[in-house]
């Protein structure tokens, strides 16, 4: 049989398309359906955090709750969330003084040690920003950290080598090496709670409601009303990380 060039190309294209489709289908079969077993569907959510600076009183409830909920190492330099206190001097607005005694876990001293009284002072709770385009996941050499389809950056403790690339890559200083496992660790946005329909421990215990978990894909989430009526800002927007911790009332001096 004579085969024309056209027939040959058509046949080749068909075979190519069909094999890749079959391969894709087969891969799906191999993987099973990982989320079919539970009622939680990642694709239906897009998680973020909204922090209202004006409501934060620096009580440290979030820091303590986070440590208890997630069994974060007790020493006062391992934090998944911590609170900073900024003091902005009106004569030097570009260089705020920041203190965060033990991450604010026991609150803050009443005034600054140097007794200054001018300027303004406010609290800034900090945590993993669960960036949509996170630098930390991009540098991981083994695929041990990743962003889920519902917008939460997680760590695979079994896969992590403890190489610390991600610790250096995070522009917000949110990662540390857990001395017990020697793997990277950070805020999971209490993913084990979110997927059970509970809010993160920090939001649960915040006495003033300064921290609010937000499901931006859920049209019924009250956060949409909040976002409409408040000006929000993320930390280090110039880094283009797609940070999803949205601050309301954030001062420009915050780094």
């Amino acid at each position: 049989m004579d085969t024309s060039r056209r027939d040959f190309l058509m046949l080749g294209t068909k075979m190519f398309v069909m094999t890749s489709a079959a391969a894709a289908a087969f891969e799906h079969v191999l993987a099973g359906a990982p989320e079919a077993a539970s009622a939680y569907h990642a694709a239906g959510h897009w998680w973020a955090m909204v922090i209202d600076i004006e409501k934060c009183i620096g009580s440290g409830h979030c820091v303590r709750a986070c440590k208890l909920e997630n069994h974060v190492v007790d020493e006062p330099f391992y934090f998944r969330t911590w609170v900073e206190r900024y003091h902005v001097d009106p004569l030097d607005m570009d260089h705020p003084a920041v203190d965060s005694p033990d991450g604010g876990i026991d609150g803050f001293p009443e005034t600054y040690p140097d007794g200054r009284t001018t300027g303004k002072t406010f609290f800034v709770p900090k945590m993993c920003n669960h960036c949509a385009d996170s630098p930390c996941t991009q540098v991981c050499p083994v695929g041990a950290t990743f962003r889920t389809n519902d917008g939460v950056v997680l760590i695979d403790k079994d896969y992590c080598l403890g190489c610390r690339y991600c610790v250096q890559a995070c522009p917000y200083g949110c990662r540390y090496i857990d001395p017990r496992t020697r793997t990277a660790d950070k805020c999971t946005l209490c993913y084990h709670r979110l997927t059970k329909g509970l809010q993160p421990a920090c939001c649960e215990t915040c006495p003033t409601g300064a921290r609010q978990i937000a499901d931006l894909k859920n049209p019924d989430d009250p956060i949409h009303a909040f976002l409409r009526s408040h000006q929000i800002q993320v930390l280090k927007p110039q880094m283009a990380t797609g940070a999803k911790v949205y601050y309301s009332g954030l001062d420009g001096s915050v780094r």
Binding site: I57, E69, E110, I155, D156, T188
Partner: protein, 152 residues
């Protein structure tokens, strides 16, 4: 036709390369978890690992299921927006089996002070006290009932 000179060298090289490739493919297939790459460049099972962690804080809904008296007491109080576990601590074990674990009463003074001590960073609208001056050595709950703190 005269064969390519020293072809045996190239064939040996090709065989070695093929063998190396085979070893790599087999080892890779054996070592990479089946679920790696199904959702992205990571092990899909890692998500379930994170989800499997136990909770420590039961959540406000769990508290309100039983402690209706306190819910009613707090309904009009200024502390109504604060979750029970904010002061009482993580109580998922108590919520799961109330008989197994009874929470200790929180120590009032250090707890109240966390929020109500004066601080330069607090909004002027927020109720603060001078801790040393306000009540002397008395504990806060001598006068203020924590669930409904306003003095009537």
């Amino acid at each position: 036709m005269k064969s390519f000179r020293d072809a045996a060298h190239l064939i040996r090289l090709a065989v070695l390369f093929a063998a190396g490739l085979l070893v790599f493919s087999v080892a890779r297939a054996a070592l990479v978890p089946k679920d790696f790459g199904t959702l992205g460049h990571y092990r899909a099972g890692a998500i379930d690992d994170v989800r499997a962690k136990p909770i420590a804080y039961a959540g406000q809904k769990a508290c309100a299921e039983c402690h209706l008296d306190v819910v009613d007491l707090r309904a009009q109080a200024r502390h109504k927006g604060i979750a029970c576990e904010s002061c009482h601590g993580p109580l998922a074990t108590h919520a799961a089996d109330p008989g197994q674990m009874t929470p200790a009463r929180p120590e009032a003074r250090p707890l109240c002070v966390h929020c109500h001590a004066a601080n330069t960073g607090k909004s002027t609208r927020y109720p603060i006290v001078d801790v040393t001056d306000h009540a002397g050595d008395d504990t806060c709950i001598t006068c203020h009932k924590p669930h409904n703190p306003k003095l009537s």
